[in-house]
Symmetry: C2
Subunit: 461 residues, 2 copies
Amino acid sequence: MGWMYTINDTIVALATAPGEGAIGVIRLSGSEAIAIAEKIFKGKKLSKLPSHTLHLGKIVAGETTIDEVVVSLFKGPKSYTGENVVEISCHGSPYILQQIIDLCLKQGARMAKPGEFTLRAFLKGKMDLTQAEAVADLIASQSGASHQAAMHNLRGGFSQELRSMREELIKFSALIELELDFSQEDVEFADRTQLYDLISRIREATRRLVDSFRLGNVIKNGVSVAIIGKPNAGKSTLLNALLNEERAIVSDIAGTTRDTIEEVLNINGVLFRLIDTAGIREHSSDAIERIGVQRSKEAMSNADVVVYLFDLKESLVADIIDQAEELKKTGTTYILVGNKSDALGIGNAKEKFAALDNNILFISAKNKENTQQLKEALYELAMQGKVKPEGTIVTNARHYGALQDVLRSLEDIKKGMDENLPGDLVALDIRNALHYLGDITGEVTTEDKLDYIFSKFCIGK
Amino acid sequence: MGWMYTINDTIVALATAPGEGAIGVIRLSGSEAIAIAEKIFKGKKLSKLPSHTLHLGKIVAGETTIDEVVVSLFKGPKSYTGENVVEISCHGSPYILQQIIDLCLKQGARMAKPGEFTLRAFLKGKMDLTQAEAVADLIASQSGASHQAAMHNLRGGFSQELRSMREELIKFSALIELELDFSQEDVEFADRTQLYDLISRIREATRRLVDSFRLGNVIKNGVSVAIIGKPNAGKSTLLNALLNEERAIVSDIAGTTRDTIEEVLNINGVLFRLIDTAGIREHSSDAIERIGVQRSKEAMSNADVVVYLFDLKESLVADIIDQAEELKKTGTTYILVGNKSDALGIGNAKEKFAALDNNILFISAKNKENTQQLKEALYELAMQGKVKPEGTIVTNARHYGALQDVLRSLEDIKKGMDENLPGDLVALDIRNALHYLGDITGEVTTEDKLDYIFSKFCIGK
């Protein structure tokens, strides 16, 4: 794509969400942003006005008034991109927005590519790559946890940790090289223990970041929960009880739910995507329902957590024991939930399923009894083995990959020291580690990599 | 609802389209707008800053940073509403937007009702009612014609015409009253001809506005075109040819199109809503297809224009003649379109259907032959009998109704003069006419009427 060749032109895009609204905002960035806006704006002369000011006027195409607008002026470098930026705030009609963008294009602007405004901010040194990536994460954040993780990164929290690791590594490297220079003279500038301490401190920090990705992934992508069970176990009723709204069509006719339905539930700031599945019933005569059953099995094998829901009154104890065994065999994280405690009575239910020990959560989806406990159990299951670290939580798969590379290089360094490898080989591993760290922040990068990262942004950002 | 009681508080709403975008804008308006924003904004002290300026800072909830934002300050009366207005431009994440709105609510703002910002602009005298209504029309405009009509009104074009009519009426009223005062003395201040001229000038202007609504309605709401015909006449292919894209599923199996599909086509700046209907086939065995046929008939009876499409090769001439007769009987505006001229050959087709004279448009939807002519024919049919006036085109049904009332009052005045009614009765009709004119601009209005008008706006406007 060749970003580098096109950084000098002026780009334009719709910055607000598409669709009708009270207002819509079009963003122009580049050396010609103000000149282009001036050509289509009837009002004060924009180029004569100070930065960070707002101006009422009209956007015109020849004699035709397209809209009455407010123009925001940001002169570089004090702008989002670091370049001159003009934002045109007009009436939120898709027709008008398109007309104004067309006018900007006619006057020499170019349609911005996805994420290109943020790419420019990165290239102009307004932010590093982890901050740029946090912008996209922030916009996509749907829960308190994902929002806070992205905000931490946007504000440079992650960059700072990486910088301090980098500084530690450089300090380590300096010591190694000093020893190298004087290796003939048998001088010890830093005792071995100190060097070991240093490298293990960096390794520990890196490992902490690598480990945080297990949680980070959950925070960013949420937890998928498949609710499975026989027809009429009460899956749709449970979904509704959890969501506190009538989402799925509930009916007493077995096989009502044909398609999988995905709904989002926020438990303690983490998103749970609940997948209501078609009742698992093997020999359905209805073709469309058979497809539903197939999808249900797929949803189950892709889920992070499986809720196996059964009717306490109608189910045979032996069947549930079998089912639990089967789930255990597949290695799935699951929870057994006995429903309709209202019909059987909670005491009778506990007695009936005593053989399964305390492994069942007894609920009444209809009466919303114990559904709060189910939420808490889901949260516990999702968080199992995931530590919540102080500071940065890595939520980005690219960062996770690079951090694993950093960790591998650090382990190579340690191994090299253990095996008394020549200092220059150890120095190579240090350079590797520094390279991978720089890869995360964008200090070392390629056009292809930038293209890939920013292509996942929305247009206008 | 009681607007008048609530004009003194501060309102807040999302001003941009809902959904994810690069940025989203939240608007606060009211005497406390700046004070409320200041409580949640970490940056410069907003109340100390001049109007029409932009400020970078953070929105915070206690210790938690919600977002990095740019705040726009507009101090009343130089703002959209005439009150103090603060716009918070943040990252376009629905989660963040909701958080910021919640913070504003906690600090004492109230959720804005639909159109309430514009209502305030009206109540503060920033615009009259026709301009306020033009704001909603402008946002909803989807074509050049509807956009220009709304822009004309927003800029006060309509208000000005009404004002000049009002002035003429007042001039007329003054003359009548002078004559009344001196009626005993048999003095003629204005000759009868002059009075007649004056009233007919106003009537003509009013009638012109009333008449413009036929076009205005088409401009605002578009023209609905039902494409009907037997299965396999090529309706979906024609729709695709007109739209230049593959919208409907085209297949050779009769009865493929089950539901009506609506697509929008812009011809000479006017919107045509094309409705592809299920093939009309009486005795379908498939229940879902039968519903489709039913909908097809409904679409046809609701359409402004019906395109009757038939296969030139397969159709019997007598059938088409019958069909044309039937359409004529219903009073529908229709056009006969013979398709698949490629299969039969255009010469053969014309010969075969010579009995129908020149009433058929011969096309090949497959080869996009004559489809441009079809577009032009549709435009001509839709514009039949609709004059394009200079100046205002009335597009609003409320204005249309009030203008009809004005016209009726003017005719009463004329009749009164013709019948030499007492001057005070004529004066009453004049007051009626002035009342209806004031009703349009909002000089005379009721809370209920305002509630009704603004409830049709989107929230945030």
